[in-house]
Symmetry: C2
Subunit: 787 residues, 2 copies
């Protein structure tokens, strides 16, 4: 078989691949006798055989051939693998190229190191079985399939020199996010972005079933990828030597094609979407593992997915087969008498930063350049009398974000992401600074689309989240605005990112990356257009389950606090920041300096809103979120009429985790401060943006917890008026006022009267909205006035 490889190159490439495969098998099985210097015995075998071999030889095959391309062309390449359970292969390769030992010096490049490498894998207090922050060169938490191609595109954005090779395999292509993410090519600019090389690795099977794309007609498969806009190359086979030649050939072609397309685009300043090449690679699952075990085919079937020989510890025949399998890679030809990878083989790997395990982009914190931020105070909205001025908080924020965008255009390290909702969320001012990225057909009516735009809009929360993760993990900054209810679509992606952050923090060599910033707007209380399906504030609960050192949740009550909070979040690292703020016109409560102080504290008494006048209050009215704040302050005015003598304290919470004890969350108040705010024995009426129970969850250990009475969203909703939403969920001003009266001993005598008033006003409300289709004038036009 002739091809681009000389005999000697072919030998070396094959040997290198065998070495990677050998080290992969070793990690799964061996705790001793790493280089088979003596016959294998039971005692060499790990007690628990944990890992995945099936995808690994294919990953190794690709790795060694990418190495060749990198070396030949001094190419800047990253490797993103969808089947992250193939980590043994990536660990093996980074060990062979030396980047692993540079990262973990205790894993030396000799027999001792190989033994430690094997032993630590899937071992308690060792390294995980999946791709993870621990693996040099990785940017993906392996395990949950579906996001590799999105990470790859996110990495390629604004890195014009970079090529991200991305393996999609083991059924990942069947997942929704992956199926949609092929279309990312319509958001890539061939001039200013890098390239993604998708490699669809069809090894035929997932865990227990064939994969769909391996079993459709080859014509359909070709059509599908042409339809997605790619130029598919196909390579299929199982004879290693033939496959090495052909892989070298096809990668040479693909590499030239990528660079040609880029050159053409850049020389002609023509960013028109090219038809990027991609590779469909068909190799057997578990390639090179035993073909048949106990009379059943293993290589080339799903049986090779995890541990192809799983009875090694109990079945001597399996132990023998394992030894044959390992010796089949000819380890003595690969490692010298010290157990060191032979120099003539090691030399075919790229050097230094060009090694994929040492690519700087894969440890993005190293490359992180802080954002140049405008002074957020410059965007302050006038306040005057609290609540007198009404403004859409997110449209104010839009102007600030526009200038964040502007100031960082030249750094090319900030992008905004939204599932077709930036304008709906009132952030459209940002288009003045940069358009919406679009690399498909344009029409005359189009507005704000641009092939250079830095606002990423596509109708997929998955795509937004995945691109953003890839962008952040490679050392850049981003901002994701989303309808509150639909952020649940990426619950699981958020989980994996939070897990990545948690694990990465324990690794000194991983430098901190920019936080993932969410703005959740069009929230539960103001889904006037859309109703019940758009009403779910539960992302708060989902996020709150994650580690306190990773997550932050902010509920700024107005435009100025939103500015202050956002400015803060854009400066942080290694967090997930969730900001929840409405887009509808709403009162401004604090002037900018008060807003900054309030946000810095995270929680505070709004003295101007209460009437405790230095003494002890009868009741604490607490609130978190813009609509709850509005209803709470309105409740205070209702109380002036219903129970004028009641001494009310108003507390507003911006930073949700201030509620939690300080030993649970670094933002938590200590008990003394908490007690000072919430008292130790007075009733607390708490109006909360989300499901009420989380307030109990955060405060159940506090002294006064038994007196905290929470109102929030209780899953009642539809297309109705803003005020009716609060009525349906018992969070309206009148109900809050009645609650305060009922819970305060000082107003025991007024309870009956309050119930009566409440019933009357709610009945009047219901008649009015049913008759007129809008809220009572006194509710619509309500304005805070100091007493």
């Amino acid at each position: 078989m002739s091809g681009p490889l000389s005999d000697s190159e072919l030998e070396k490439i094959d040997a290198y691949w065998r070495a990677a495969n050998y080290l992969s098998v070793g990690q799964i099985y061996l705790k001793d006798n790493p280089l088979l210097t003596r016959p294998l015995v039971l005692d060499d075998i790990k007690p628990r055989l944990l890992g995945h071999f099936g995808t690994t030889p294919g990953l190794n095959f690709i790795y060694v051939h990418l190495n060749r391309i990198i070396r030949l062309n001094q190419a800047n390449m990253m490797y993103v693998i969808g089947p992250g359970h193939g980590a043994p292969g990536i660990i093996a390769n980074t060990f062979l190229e030396g980047s692993y030992t540079e990262t973990y010096p205790n894993i030396e490049r000799n027999a001792d190191g190989v033994k430690r490498l094997f032993r630590q894998f899937s071992w308690p207090y060792g390294v995980p079985s999946h791709d993870s922050p621990e693996v040099p060169g990785s940017i993906s938490e392996g395990g949950e399939l579906g996001y590799s191609l999105l990470h790859a595109y996110g990495a390629a954005f604004d890195n014009p020199d970079l090529i991200v090779a991305c393996v999609v395999g083991d059924g990942e292509a069947e997942t929704g996010p992956l199926a949609a993410s092929w279309h990312s090519n319509k958001f890539l600019n061939p001039i200013s972005d890098g390239a993604v090389l998708p490699i669809l690795h069809l090894n035929g099977y997932k865990i227990a079933n064939p994969t769909l794309l391996a079993r459709i007609d080859p014509d359909e498969l070709q059509a599908l990828f042409r339809g997605y806009g790619y130029h598919p190359y196909v390579l299929e086979g199982d004879d290693p030597r033939t496959m090495h030649q052909r892989m070298a050939e096809v990668l040479d072609t693909i590499y030239r094609e990528i660079r040609d397309l880029q050159r053409k685009a850049r020389e002609n300043n023509d960013a028109t979407r090219p038809r990027w090449p991609m590779l469909i690679l068909r190799t057997p699952k578990g390639w090179t593992c035993p073909a048949v075990v106990d009379g059943k085919p293993v290589e080339g079937t799903w049986r090779a997915h995890q541990v192809p020989l799983d009875e090694v510890r109990t079945n001597p025949e399996h132990l023998k087969l394992l030894e044959q399998w390992l010796r089949g890679y000819k380890p003595h030809e690969l490692f010298d008498e010290h157990g060191t990878f032979r120099e003539e083989l090691a030399e075919i790997a790229p050097k230094g930063r060009l090694r994929m395990g040492a690519n700087a982009h894969a440890n993005g914190g190293q490359l992180l350049v802080p954002l140049v931020l405008p002074h957020f105070r410059d965007y302050a909205v006038e306040c005057g009398t609290p609540g007198a001025h009404v403004v859409s908080a997110t449209s104010v924020l839009g102007k600030y974000l526009r200038d964040v965008m502007r100031r960082n255009l030249s750094q090319r390290n900030f992008r905004m992401f939204a599932p077709d909702e930036n304008a709906s969320n009132r952030l459209q001012a940002v288009y003045e600074a940069s358009g919406k990225r679009w690399n498909a057909r344009y029409e005359d009516v189009d507005e704000s689309l641009s092939v250079e735009g830095r606002v990423m809009e596509v109708l997929s929360e998955h795509l937004c989240q995945g691109w953003l993760e890839g962008y952040l993990l490679t050392g850049r900054h981003g901002f994701f605005s989303c309808y509150e209810a639909f952020i649940h679509i990426v619950d699981s992606m958020f989980n994996q990112h939070a897990k990545w952050l948690k694990s990465a923090k324990d690794l000194a060599w991983r430098k901190p990356i920019a936080s993932l910033n969410y703005l959740l707007s069009s929230h539960v209380w103001r889904q006037d257009h859309n109703g019940f399906s758009h009403q779910d504030p539960g992302f708060i609960d989902h996020v709150a389950n994650k580690r306190a050192d990773t997550v932050r949740i902010y509920l700024p009550p107005d435009a100025n606090t939103l500015l202050s909070v956002t400015d803060h979040c854009l400066r942080t690292k290694n967090y997930v920041n969730v900001i929840i703020a409405g887009k509808q016109a709403a009162p401004v409560w604090l002037d900018m300096e008060s807003a900054v102080r309030h946000c810095a504290a995270g929680i505070g008494i709004w003295e101007w809103a209460g009437n405790e006048a230095g003494g002890e209050p009868d009741v604490v009215m607490a609130c978190a979120g813009d609509v709850p704040t509005l209803e709470t302050l309105a409740a205070v005015t209702v109380l002036r009429e219903w129970a004028p003598e009641l001494k009310v304290r108003v507390i507003n919470v911006v930073d949700l985790f201030t509620l939690e004890p300080v030993n649970s969350h670094p933002h938590g108040l200590n008990d003394e401060d908490f007690d000072r705010l919430f008292t130790v024995d007075k009733p607390v009426v708490f109006a909360f943006h989300g499901y009420p129970t989380i307030v109990h969850k955060l405060t159940y250990n506090r002294t006064n917890h038994g007196n905290i009475h929470v109102r929030g969203y209780k899953e009642e909703g539809t297309t109705t008026t803003p005020f009716d939403m609060t009525v349906l969920n018992d969070m309206d001003r009148y109900t809050l006022a009645r609650d305060a009266i009922r819970l305060s001993p000082a107003t025991a005598h007024r309870v009956k009267d309050a119930e009566q008033r409440l019933s009357e006003v709610l009945q009047r409300h219901k008649l009015h909205v049913t008759e007129h289709g809008e809220d009572l004038p006194e509710v619509r036009d309500w304005n805070w006035t100091a007493r």
Copy 2:
């Protein structure tokens, strides 16, 4: 323009379409003067203009043409719309065909009824703006895009006569779930299943941006759908008359093609996947709305997405335009002097059950046939001494499910769903009764695949969930088994289904459907192979936020309780049941009769496990979940040595919501019973399967809440040993024993000693796992023995 329609047919079809469009616009704008019997005045206009017009004329166009196909062929058809915000159109059409009035008699077929129809839309205490249970003929909660095609396939399964027309539009095709769901054709059997007719409605725009598929090369678009395995037809235009002829033509062709493919398959008993037809329909967004408003193009652009003229209330010019627009449909030609739709037009709709708003499948509860269930007691595992017998609970369940499958094969109304995880979750016995559905290429090595199989496996939680929802909503039964961590992938789909169930319950005409049953296995505590990325028990928290009348969460501690719980769940209606159970070998604690009693109560004292002997205990050891139960019982044995005098009560919780007060959840214990179990003042050490805080959330109102001390998953994990997972999260038996000693006044003198013992044993554990890679023998081989 010639075509299949005679002039008179063409006239009628166009008039019918105009009527539907007129009624759609009317719903968005008008509260009075419904048939324009006088000039439009401001007072006729709704105070809040809420709704979506952009997609609606296209939906109406398709509806009237499907009507024609139904009538011509007496076809059994359903209509599933992805852009569910186009509900005004569906409501209009069901009103025109009469099914709306049959469902809601107060919306009469006259001017009064039209007025009510208009007024109620997006009106407080009226009907929602989106497709919803309130809409006759609908099975999809409109609002969140992405699931229409899955619902359509789910509906078509096992309904060989049915054709489900499914509109994908307004950018839905960009979502992940939708992008993957085109591949559902590889899971459809042309003999025993019905057909899905996907209609990709390219009206060019989503909320604020062009849609991708509208802007790629027509060749790419064709290739994409050929690649997905379809035979795409394309129809494009904006001249109504031409479009009517061509639509009639293409639908005639498509309908014939579908029936031909089915006939061929059925006559030849050849289920080979056909290349099903699909339609790509390009019509302008907001077709027939004002072309230009205030100098800006509206029809054919994103500006028509919601309310094309949005200043009608403030801008007299807009009001005039609205009147012109409405009169353009010539309402006087469509409705007679009573405001009744003219008989000669009404007659072109199908009759009776053939009307899409009256299709029985769309109110699936009507068709629901209960499952024939085997006696679950027959699958009981012997218990003997509690904990002495060890078995994989899910593999026991697999045998029961196999027989559920068998007994319902002839009813063809039960399917199982899993993302490539049924066998991994140890349910493979079910393949003895029915194979895994596969309609792609077969190879010799394949096992248990079958084109008739009733086990649906694909590597996508979205596809599993969406198909199952469609299957349930059309009156069948299903069972979804999934890795616990990855069920978060469908958090948002679960939300929408739960919302559907909640709203549907309020509608007497909607008959109850079978519950959605989840088995979450391969759970957080036993991810030996996969580690951190696979560890997340938070679906519990997500589900618990939904309405108490809809959700149930069960944590059966062993095989027998799992059987009992599953049997119960399969009999229920209108719930979402979440069952969490491990797949690894684990102790059997209860014989079947005890298990049944325990599950019926949902919670109970395990007297055999404690030593309170009728008196008051010193400490309550509570547990929920299989691993927490194991660790709790082991802790009890540890306590026998560390604090033999300590009187321990053991409580096990199967039904999580028993913890909640009965006024919050129907399964909740009343306070008296709760106090009797948990005492009013004794310390409670609670070992919980998931994140600990939910126990606080459920119990914060209970008398003894202040003494409840919960251990659970605190987001610590990796690939490690089973016992080490409990150690990492402070839920191991030794820590639980120490907790009991520390919290009980009776053992104050033993605290120091217990701390010492704990520290020693955990150190010994850590040394052992690090050295040997497996748990201490005393932990691995631990067995409960009665004292």
